[in-house]
Symmetry: C3
Subunit: 270 residues, 3 copies
């Protein structure tokens, strides 16, 4: 069950040594782990952005990888610290998740059900028994994740809690209606990436096998296969690599070109 692979996701940025210090806490317990950064540039305290980044990354890692995520506006309050196993087989979880119970992981368990959940309350697995009230990443989560990735069993780390008790973040979704024989699916922009691609909440399965277009004001963008199906500078719609309908500009930024932001409504017409 031990994967030896541990990922980190935070909103700490890379200009301070906070991330390095968490890796120091991990290396102090087990320097042989493979430690991989997902991103440390989640906008400060933005749990929704962290939810998206985690949900889209977990499927690409080895079975049993430990994902440590710290976007934690409630650090030091009475929000719970948790560790979870997710997947379909308790003997071989897809992944382990370690972090605050604030909805951060609620995108992952849409896809992979929670097999087991514990509240982290066994200080023997922490860096020190009186952790800093403002840096649980260093003093609780990093050591716990290092122990998990090194083979300690999940139930050792704390008291079992009910999966239903975990904090849910409302998941943005989509609806459909029919209008004069046309199917209209309405979703919204759930993420915008570094290239300015607008990633909607409308999954690939909705448009599969049909001709479809994104309706944008009085324009209709026909669904394409890849960026270069449109001339440089042109706006296009496609199914992105995350598995959702995406709006992009070939060689440019759809965010800048269209002036759209997180949460904006998007309609697909088939």
């Amino acid at each position: 069950m031990k994967s030896g692979v541990l990922t980190l996701l935070t909103d700490f940025g890379l200009s301070d040594s906070y991330v390095g210090v968490m890796k120091g806490a991990i290396a102090s317990l087990n320097p042989t782990l493979t430690v991989i950064d997902l991103t440390h540039q989640i906008p400060p305290q933005n749990i929704a952005a962290a939810r998206f980044a985690l949900m889209t990354a977990v499927p690409y890692f080895p079975l049993g990888t430990v994902h440590l995520a710290v976007v934690d506006p409630g650090v030091g309050s009475n929000r719970r610290a948790i560790a979870l196993a997710v997947g379909n087989d308790v003997a071989q979880p897809v992944a382990f998740l370690v972090g605050p119970d604030n909805g951060l992981f609620s995108g992952v368990w849409q896809r992979y059900p929670v097999l087991q959940a514990v509240e982290l309350n066994h200080p023997g697995y922490w860096r020190r028994s009186s952790p800093s009230p403002t840096f649980h990443g260093r003093d609780i989560f990093a050591p716990v994740a290092a122990h998990l990735a090194s083979g300690i069993a999940l139930p050792e780390l704390g008291t079992e809690i009910a999966p239903e008790s975990l904090t849910q973040l409302p998941i943005p979704t989509w609806t459909e209606q029919w209008q004069e024989n046309r199917r209209i699916v309405t979703g919204c922009i759930q993420a915008i990436d570094h290239f300015g691609n607008l990633i909607t909440t409308i999954p690939a399965a909705v448009v599969e096998g049909d001709a479809w277009c994104v309706s944008l004001g009085d324009r209709a963008l026909a669904g394409q296969s890849t960026y270069s199906d449109t001339p440089v500078g042109g706006v296009l719609a496609l199914v992105g690599s995350h598995g959702w309908v995406e709006i992009a500009v070939n060689g440019g930024s759809a965010q800048t070109t269209l002036g759209l932001d997180w949460g904006a409504m998007v309609q697909v017409v088939m």
Copy 2:
């Protein structure tokens, strides 16, 4: 021949989980590889900047290191996906290069000839046989690079192609002329680094052993040895660590101070 070292260079930035996901695909095949980031902050779609960063980094890695580079505006189009061995000895290549055939590697093979080239068309070495049309980094290049770094032979990965057929990026260079007993070498700025140092296309060998200066409008900057040969705030010319004539400001940015940009003409007078 197996180095176990794999580097990554992309224009993905660090705010999304794209880079982490590529590392997940690599770890899924071989978590024991040493994976090193060259940079992920190549300006979006800037193949020239990627060419420079790769060309100046390859010489400092262990023999046989695999360099995976994804700056790929043509992803999903009919541009080829390639892997190359470069160096002078086919039994011990200096490096392997994996990425799109768009000129990205044409700086490297100026210095190290292509020993062998394949088009990547054996899906058995990919993450999935129907890769996403917009993320070959995750679905083709990362798995292929992980296989190469783990010891799979280059010809296993695809069909051999002629090195002469590879896409070349026009290489910025320099010219010389004589004027009243003075040698005048004309080049241009081929890169600007984080410190604002202006790196020209004029190689160290051109100025070696002679007194030389950079002529900048009506100023002449005498060639120096290091930044602190000039008082803080002063402009100077020197041979930089990449091996080209460079213009710098001690404790400041030559780019900002002089208002020069990529491609600007620079003259050295001897």
Copy 3:
């Protein structure tokens, strides 16, 4: 004594391949080392910021970790290149430090005395015997650090020098006075992190066990335990995870809210 763990701290940024090249130089000597980035976003040439980041990170790493730091405005001048062992036990140093002798390490040795210091003048341990005058990070410091982390003894690397001869950076500190039965401690802001938290020079020990507040113009901020002890948007004072009095805004940036900068005076009243 060999830890196998090596950290990197520079002002190189992440947009060029300078950091990758240093890791290439390290991997060329020993690809099995665990290499951890502290940060590469120290503001260019800012030795004080580097001093703070190092001082606050060293305690969290395994005993014997090698910390390589390159913020080096004097590269190529006659400033010395050094390696140090620090701690209390020469048989088991807390850490080794490698870099320029410019005060970078003077925060670390406030806490851990220098056990042994050498000037790096044995070119046999460098990447090449004539290093680039502008990139000692690649040609001297990275190879030396890789050798140290691989088990080479410190005295092998150069000539022993007196710890008292090392360059000191003036350490920002605090003073106290009594006024009508109240103790007033005056310090300043020594660092500002990614979240805009203002970290003062007033250590936790000064306020331990007492009721205290930070006096800010005509406001008094009572000392709290964690960010969420104050409503979102509220300003608060607390003992931060680094072990100093800190001023923060719950869910926001104290730097932006208060308009304070590095060096600003701060008073604690008890």
